[in-house]
């Protein structure tokens, strides 16, 4: 079966490990948080402030703020924009991601 990586003949450097709520997942250099989570089969990583509903990527370009996530203890980062680095810790977030 074809894959986007194969289609574009991509040869990224070796995968590295980041964590999602403490669980190790693999990421490729150049991937955003959203891309790495999608590749790991995760498509929702936060719940809304009001109804606690799950959300992930919606606009994919930084406009909608649906994809908010906590990266290295910094809440409300847009997963579709933020690139990953080895050892980054991602946490799913509830509401505003603050303890209020």
């Amino acid at each position: 079966m074809n894959s986007p990586l194969r289609l574009a003949d991509a040869h990224p450097g070796p995968a590295f490990t980041v964590t999602l709520d403490g669980r190790a997942i693999e990421a490729l250099p150049g991937q955003t948080v959203a891309a790495a989570l999608w590749t790991a089969g995760v498509t929702s990583w936060r719940t809304t402030r009001g109804e606690g509903r799950p959300r992930g990527v919606f606009c994919g370009i930084g406009v909608c703020y649906d994809c908010l996530v906590t990266v290295n203890s910094r809440p409300n980062q847009r997963a579709c924009l933020v690139p990953l680095h080895p050892g980054d810790t991602i946490r799913t977030q509830e509401g505003t991601g603050h303890d209020d």
Partner: protein
């Protein structure tokens, strides 16, 4: 900058901004090209991250040669010191010092009349400023999506978003997708996903193919575009993508994750035909109903809008002296039109910044293609339209404002019960549009439900700004700093 050439700040490095930058730099202007993305290219020429080391990035693109030409010209001007490329810069405000313009002579007095305020990096917390003699807005647009039950379920995303994730990060969200809505963007999205190994179960287009036939004159005037359409049709066939025209998605199903969508046939009035509903299993729904221009920066500069588009003259000048605009910010019309407008804007700005009257004959070919493409897209617009009765799909418990989770019922209550007749009043009564995205996602839906025109909502800034940055923004010492 020790350079005494005039200085133009171009905001947005998509087709329009790139064409403008190259044209202005070639005519004696120093250009700072600013974009929020990590690489130049905009939406159409979005590139995979460099670290992904793609040997064949063109596999996901069309018109690759034009991109190569632009990219090489940009690199040439950067190397020669004519252009500074600032990526990862999110512009939140462009400030104009009025008195400098009032005193202007073509030469010195208008120097540094503009300050472009940006936030660095994806985190967008560190400020940066660029001074310029003139600015050119090429900020493109974003996708319009109208609500329906289940559109907030993870796995439902914008068609352009699916494309952006694919082109930029070589990632797809699932195995089986439905591409739906209306507009020409659905074609590259469906064929792109299919080429990348996703099973595209259907392309669901609400437009009626008969409408194209009625529009043959305007369409035939653009044989290149018709051929492009034919290529997509062939690719759909090759990937065995089922094309369902005059259909719409009426609901997306799933809880934590999309499991299926229900599609139905539309009648000639744009109503769902009862009894035609059927379910299609999928884990991704890429959906879009057209595009909207990004106009925030233009609005804060005081540029006049024409409906929701930035208004420009034949030279792509806005009505604010020193401010040009090009590409989809002046109206949606695709990459080729953006290139033509960018080219004209860049040449006009260069001439005027050099104190000469521009000669439109020098950009006659671009002006001709601009006219034709505007006509072509005006014709397309009448064909590609969301179902006339799309508001029927918005049930009372359908979320309309994704950020503040305001439902269709709440919006209707504000409209029918409390008499709200415009977006602003609905916002005040329900909080629709008050969240993170500032109404960018729900604006068209609220306008539709309130039965009013979509008017641009006045946003003080183009991006949310940390308070610390705001507190420092007006400090006199930061103004004195030479760029």
């Amino acid at each position: 900058m020790t350079d005494d050439r005039p200085h133009l700040a171009v905001i947005g490095a998509g087709p329009a901004g790139l064409a403008a930058t190259v044209a202005a730099a070639a005519h004696g202007v120093h250009v700072t090209l600013i974009d929020s993305a990590a690489r130049a290219g905009g939406q159409f020429y979005r590139q995979p991250a460099a670290e992904l080391n793609a040997g064949r990035p063109q596999a996901l693109h069309h018109q690759w040669r034009t991109w190569e030409r632009l990219k090489d010209a940009l690199a040439h001007h950067v190397e020669a010191g004519h252009v500074r490329l600032l990526t990862d810069h999110h512009v939140w405000l462009v400030e104009r010092r009025l008195n400098q313009w009032l005193n202007q002579r073509a030469g010195d007095a208008d120097r540094n009349a503009f300050t472009v305020h940006a936030l660095l990096g994806p985190e967008q917390e560190t400020p940066a400023e660029v001074r310029a003699d003139a600015v050119l807005l090429a900020t493109g647009g974003y996708e319009k999506v109208l609500p329906f039950p289940g559109w907030t379920v993870p796995g439902v995303l914008t068609a352009g978003g699916a494309q952006a994730m694919l082109k930029g990060t070589l990632a797809v969200s699932g195995r089986t997708a439905v591409v739906a809505g209306t507009g020409p963007l659905l074609l590259p999205v469906a064929t792109g996903l299919a080429a990348a190994g996703v099973e595209v179960a259907a392309l669901v287009e609400s437009a009626d193919p008969k409408a194209f036939v009625r529009r043959t004159r305007a369409l035939a005037a653009q044989p290149g575009k018709v051929a492009e359409g034919a290529q997509y049709a062939a690719q759909l066939l090759r990937h065995r993508v089922r094309l369902l025209t005059r259909h719409t998605v009426v609901a997306a199903h799933g809880d934590e994750r999309l499991e299926a969508v229900t599609v139905a046939t539309l009648d000639t009035d744009g109503r769902v035909r009862p009894g035609t509903e059927r379910r299609i299993a999928c884990d991704t729904l890429a959906v879009g109903h057209g595009m909207l221009p990004h106009t925030d920066l233009a609005e804060t500069l005081g540029c006049r809008l024409d409906g929701i588009d930035v208004q420009v003259d034949d030279e792509q000048r806005t009505d604010v002296p020193g401010v040009w605009a090009a590409g989809e910010t002046t109206g949606i019309g695709g990459a080729a039109l953006s290139l033509a407008e960018g080219h004209i804007a860049g040449r006009s700005a260069a001439a005027r910044l050099n104190g000469t009257e521009p000669d439109p004959r020098t950009w006659a070919p671009a002006a001709k293609s601009r006219t034709k493409l505007r006509e072509f897209f005006a014709a397309l617009d009448t064909v590609y339209a969301p179902p006339a009765r799309w508001t029927d799909l918005v049930t009372d418990d359908t979320v309309v404002c994704r950020c503040e989770e305001v439902t269709g019922g709440a919006v209707r209550e504000a409209v029918d019960g409390l008499g709200a007749g415009d977006i602003r009043t609905v916002k005040l009564l329900t909080r629709a549009g008050m969240g993170w995205c500032q109404g960018r996602m729900c604006g068209p839906a609220v306008a539709g439900l309130a039965g009013c025109e979509l008017t641009p909502s006045r946003r003080p800034f183009a991006r949310p700004v940390p308070l610390g940055v705001l507190a420092r923004a007006g400090e006199p010492e930061s103004e004195a700093e030479p760029e």
